[in-house]
Amino acid sequence: MSHVLDEAYYKQLHDLQAVDFVLVELNLYLDTHPGDEAAIAQYNQFAELRKRIAEQFESQYGPLMNFGHSLSRAPWQWKEAPWPWQV
């Protein structure tokens, strides 16, 4: 199944992927440079930004995570398509 979504969906998804890329990079860097305080501050700053972007995305397109990490409206939103490989 493939799903056609509006341009805003792809834009918001891209924003989330971009901030998550920064976080993955900082995370792996900090795993081998645990004393770099500037990098830790940057990591925390991006983690806050990430929370806001994810909340905004979820309010429009449904939960990103299962098992209680995201909230749901009724009916249960988690099982709704699209799944990542369908967009």
Partner: protein, 189 residues
């Protein structure tokens, strides 16, 4: 435990139906240096490696599952509109006979994934060198895959994955240095 997020780590777009390219991409799905092997290799090594590098193995191992999902998405998108005749012409007749267009953990030649692709020596330096080699082999494979397609959308996602292998290799090299320092301390102090 693991948490799942309903999004890809990086976008995967393809500009045409191309089952032959999907066949080649299976090398990174169920091949010796593929993403499944990578994820399982690192996560399995965590239990006996020094605490200092468990975090790194956990994080890279987890990221590899995100890459596995990207490869799956490529294979899925490249084959979803293919007819049985097109699958056959692309050398995926054997695959189609057994799996229709379902994904399966094989390499590009159709050989099923096996645990003998991964190592766990229990010696931290030996294991990390194994991991560095695995990253370099995966990087090389991504380059060959990029060279085999003219689909610029697909190339974009493959280039992203190639760059991730470079970063993983770098981090594993740093992990080796961290453990070597520790070894020296044990010997000299």
């Amino acid at each position: 435990m693991w948490a799942y997020e309903k999004k890809l780590q990086y976008p995967v777009r393809v500009s045409k139906c191309d089952p032959l390219m999907a066949k080649f991409l299976m090398e990174q799905y169920g091949g010796a240096d593929g993403e499944l092997a990578a994820a399982l290799r690192y996560l399995n090594q965590r239990y006996t490696i020094p605490d200092k590098v468990v975090g790194l193995l956990t994080d890279i191992g987890t990221e590899e599952f995100a890459h596995l999902e990207m490869i799956a998405t490529m294979v899925y998108k490249l084959t979803k509109d293919a007819t049985p005749a097109q699958m056959k012409a692309a050398g995926l007749g054997d695959h189609y006979a057994a799996h229709d267009s379902a994904l399966f953990y094989t390499n590009a030649a159709g050989v099923p994934w096996t645990a003998s692709y991964i190592a766990a020596k229990g010696d931290p330096i030996a294991d990390l060198y194994e991991d560095i080699a695995a990253e370099e082999k995966a990087r090389a494979t991504y380059q060959w895959l990029i060279d085999m397609t003219d689909d610029v959308d697909l190339q974009d996602s493959l280039k992203y994955l190639r760059e991730r292998e470079i970063v993983h290799s770098l981090r594993f090299r740093e992990a080796v240095e961290i453990l070597k320092d520790k070894q020296d301390q044990r010997i000299y102090f």
